[in-house]
């Protein structure tokens, strides 16, 4: 899931200087489960901001709410009243949620309350680790189900580099070397031939390097045709 981390309260407080009615919106999906922007974190942020407001005399008035999925317009619309009556909206959802509100209500000032970090899994209670880079071209079929793009510090396609020591990455000695793991995994599966193949450089055009990406599922489109029978382009 999408992992995020709350911005320092002082940073959020600076953003809100001069505002009056502040709406803090959480999201019940990824960031809630990731303990970054669910109902609990919304309450926590407001409690902290209230202290700042009371001490520095900002006069903020808070309203709080959480939506099921902030990245979807239909879920945001029910809280329209609250958004409209606020002069600042602090979104504790990931970058997607914040932008959904910002795009729907262009006149509103929407502030991110979290730093969206990565796509990761909970390794244990309270520990989240990155495992996918959303690069647009999954290569795990030949790396034993371990993603070298996200899990190798240098995103190498032909590892392991010389800095792999005792199976750990030189960049962060707490982190396992992805290519060490790939080698061990492929050995276990009896597929070491895969690692001997010289892998082609990645097609980064499929990632963000190719510009903003978009997926269109034609079969899901509710798309009228014009009189000649050709699809009207959306």
């Amino acid at each position: 899931m999408i992992r995020a981390e709350r911005k320092p309260v002082s940073e959020i407080a600076r953003m809100l200087t001069g505002k009056k009615n502040v709406l803090v919106v959480g999201c019940k999906t990824c960031v809630a489960i990731g303990h970054a922007g669910g109902e609990k974190e919304v309450s926590e942020l407001i409690s902290a901001l209230k202290i700042v407001s009371a001490r520095d005399g900002h006069g903020w008035k808070f309203e709080q709410t959480v939506v099921e999925r902030q990245c979807e317009k239909e879920w945001v619309r029910p809280i329209e009243d609250k958004i409209v009556s606020a002069d600042a909206v602090v979104s504790l959802a990931c970058g997607l949620g914040a932008q959904t509100i910002a795009d729907m209500y262009p006149a509103k000032q929407v502030y991110p309350g979290v730093n969206t970090m990565f796509l990761g899994v909970p390794e244990e209670q309270g520990v989240f680790v990155e495992k996918c880079l959303a690069c647009g071209e999954c290569v795990m079929f030949e790396t034993g189900g371990i993603c070298p793009v996200a899990r190798c510090a240098k995103s190498m396609r032909n590892g392991a580099c010389g800095g792999s020591a005792d199976g750990k990455c030189e960049v962060n000695l707490d982190t396992d070397c992805a290519w060490y793991m790939i080698y061990e995994r492929l050995k276990l599966q009896g597929r070491l031939d895969l690692i001997m193949k010289i892998s082609e450089p990645k097609d980064w055009a499929k990632s963000h390097a190719g510009g903003r990406r978009k997926i269109v599922r034609k079969d899901l489109l509710i798309q009228p045709t014009d009189r000649t029978g050709t699809e009207v382009k959306k």
Partner: protein
Amino acid sequence: MTHVSNLQKIMDSGKFGVTGEIGPPRGADPEEMIKLAKELKGSADAFNLTDNQTAIVRLSSIGSAVIIMKEGMEPVVQMTCRDRNRIALQSDLLGASAIGVRNVLCLTGDHQIFGNEKSAKGVFDLDSISLLNTFRNMRDSKKQLSGEELVSAPKIFLGAAENPFGTPYEFRALRLQKKVNAGAQFIQTQAIFDMDWFERWMAEVRKMGIHDRVHIMGGVLPCKSLGAARYMKNKVPGMKVPDSIITRMKAAKDKGQEKEEGLRICVEMIERLKTIEGVHGVHIMAVAWEEMVPYIAKEAKLLPRPTL
């Protein structure tokens, strides 16, 4: 096969090759480097010019190459994938070839986190193996990575580095094979301190027959002090320094003796490298102690360097 560089000629003719290493300065003034080049001239067949080593901003590798070529020395230009994407790498190769650089060492590069620009975006568009493959195709098939034809091909002797001491250990010889398959013609290894380990690795390499297809140059690094040896043992990932080396360094009474002992160990390493089947040369990495290369080469009876 035509020989494009002196280094290639020497090793192809069966002679023991020697390379040194020069770390370019952290400024625009070349004077120091020119002075050093004059001192080092003749002590090795070619000199590596590091490419922003450990991600510290320095005078560029190709720029340095021009400077030492003016002094009549042969450069080995190091190229890392950390700072350039495939466009820049291919363009720099063409540029290097055009000004007469003939030896290129392809590296993935140290991670930017170790350097003095920690916030930099690491490019890592390619890695060392795909870089080798790309350069080989540019040279042999006159094709750039996308498949498009080049107007003219670069002339280069391609090298790579390999670390026999990294993990997974059993993969290290295989990875060398991978690099050779990708086009590496010479290999400079990570600094060797554990010679027994290196010999075991070489035995594996020989078993696979790779030593006939590539010139392996053993890397050696003279230790300046006991502290330096300890640092390499404990702090540098992927480096193996056996306790025997530490013990020997410890026996030294003062700084001067430590230096002498460091040099002595280095010379002994080279002597031993010469006896290993499949090792075609030595790469002397006298980091921050470059002026000692002529001394080491002399002591290891590598001088005078042959001219062909």
